[in-house]
Amino acid sequence: MLVLFFRRAAFSAFSLLVVSLLLFVLTRSIPDSPARIVLGDQATEQQIAQFERDHGLDQPIIAQYLSWIGNLTLRGDLGRSFTTGLDMNKQVVDTLPVTLEIVAVAFVAATAASVMLGDRLCAVPRRRSRLLRAANGGDRSLCSRFWIALVLILAFAVERDWFPPGGFIPISQDLGGHVRSIALPSFCLSIFYMAVLTRMTRSSLLEVLGQDYMRTARATGLHPARVLLYALRNALVPVVTIAGVSFGHMFGWALIIEQIFSIDGLSRALLTAILRRDYAMVQAVVMIFTLVFVGANLLADLANGWLNPRLAAAAE
């Protein structure tokens, strides 16, 4: 298990390194420098040189990278934005919890539903499973989450006022309002992954239930619920992998969902930064996204090592 952990952790660290390097080189090599954006076209060469000296932009790019990554890893400090002068740590602390909450609710809903539905759907006779297959193409059309979001707003916020059409109400202000304000966004985020994960659970569970050891388990007279529990433990391995990836993807799609529901989360901060051409902030937010993706995948790998010790043994 420890070997598995260190292997995966080393790979995660490598991913972070590659992505951060790429991002850094890209943001530093764009034609218009932060100095030009802040000082405008009228600025003299001298002013620009002064600005770059003040913000350390005149250093060689590798030195800039090392100081940035050093501050980030050792002190958890994202620094101040060159263009807006705002403290980026504060911006992230203000917005990340909102996004995280919506994504977490969506994730829990998707995984819970998939495990519950997936095992019900195992009972669907083979004859009708062709219908399920045709639904595969259909459920992937749920990808157009922004459209589903618009239709849901139309149906539940405009036609009937069950949910607010947008905005975010903090939990400290009004508990009921808070729940209602995140219900639709979370649902829109989760529905596609619900479909994907349910389908995966079903096919994986069907495969495991057909194994000889499951027949033996049933033959020994174990309670059916216990048999199902054993089956699930084996069947969940591929589901957990995909769930880990899904968590990261949900984070990405939160960008669109937050835009539709006018929620001030981290994704919206990214869009604002892009429109302001605040590259330092773009870089910071994408770095946080990467951390979440890589972390979610790492957790999924570890969960699989626990679910199926053979995987952990194979790594050794």
Partner: protein, 297 residues
């Protein structure tokens, strides 16, 4: 009748055939957009603004009195062009990389390429695309003799981002294929490695790649729409399904439902079409299901 059966079988059964039909209709609409669209998609007509779907304007008009049906028809061009060219770029870049890495396995080159590609795929395409468009800016890039429009930039970026996916897929198959007996036989015949790679191994690697490319077409359409939706893709007044939805957002609360429902339906139908076709092709060409269907977006 026999011929029809053969076509259906080629698409991988009834499901794939249904997908192929949707894609065919879409292609016709895209190619003959000027003939099919009943009105000029850019023609502003203030007197006709926000008309409900009716006899003249089948799907209604938007806030500037432009015909929604015509805008959807023309919008298919932006969506399909970005998505199709991105897949072509991804194939052109990803397949050779994966092939070389898989065929000349064991070298440091293989390790280096595959590790970096894996690291890059740690972030979903959508986030990469938005970050890169954000860094490059939404304006056209002026490169002296040629100007790169925002759509061109988007499709180039998407294409680059598809390279890891397609390279890794080709790599997996090439790794297995290059150990097959026929490769050893060709070597004994004295054929050079590069020649074996391209004329013998490559054709055998293509089935899963074709299937994945079809699925990537669907993903590309969603990503283009998503990026245009947040205002970083196709810029108004040029219609695209994504930016139509973005402007429809403002009219949702006042009850003008047709602005958002129809472009969204176009996106969903197109995505269903490509996905059904992809599923069918997968059954036909890649029964072992090596291609990832899951959450690749």
């Amino acid at each position: 009748m026999n011929r029809l059966n053969r076509i259906v079988a080629l698409c991988g059964g009834a499901v794939g055939f249904a997908g192929a039909c949707i894609v065919a209709v879409l292609l016709v609409v895209t190619i003959f957009a000027p003939e099919i669209a009943p009105f000029d998609p850019l023609q502003v007509n203030i007197q006709n603004q926000l008309l409900e779907p009716g006899d003249t304007y089948w799907l209604g008009t938007d806030q500037s009195g432009r015909d929604i049906l015509s805008r959807i028809v023309w919008g298919s061009r932006a969506s399909l062009m970005v998505s199709a060219f991105a897949v072509i770029i991804g194939l052109a870049g990803g397949v050779p990389i994966g092939l070389v890495a898989g065929f000349y396995r064991g070298g440091w080159l293989e390790q280096a390429i595959m590790r970096v590609l894996e690291a890059v795929s740690a972030i979903p395409v959508l986030i990469w695309a938005i970050a890169l468009v954000g860094i490059l800016g939404v304006r056209n890039i002026d490169l002296g003799p040629i100007t790169i429009s925002n759509e061109a930039k988007l499709l180039a970026l998407l294409g680059l981002l598809y390279i890891p996916t397609l390279a890794r897929l080709t790599y997996t198959t090439a790794l297995i294929e290059s150990q097959a007996n026929y490769v050893a036989a060709r070597r004994l015949q004295g054929v050079t490695g590069a020649r074996i790679m391209f004329s013998d191994v490559l054709p055998n690697c293509l089935s899963p790649v074709i299937v994945q490319a079809t699925l990537l077409l669907a993903i590309g359409i969603i990503i283009e729409a998503a990026i245009s939706f947040v205002g970083l893709g196709v810029q108004p007044p040029t219609p695209s399904w994504g930016n139509m939805l973005a402007s429809a957002r403002d009219y949702l609360l006042s009850g003008e439902w047709w602005l958002s429902v129809f472009p969204g339906a176009a996106i969903s139908l197109t995505v269903i079409g490509f996905n059904l076709l992809g599923d069918g092709l997968r059954d036909r060409f890649d029964p072992r299901h090596t291609t990832a269907a899951g959450v690749a977006a």
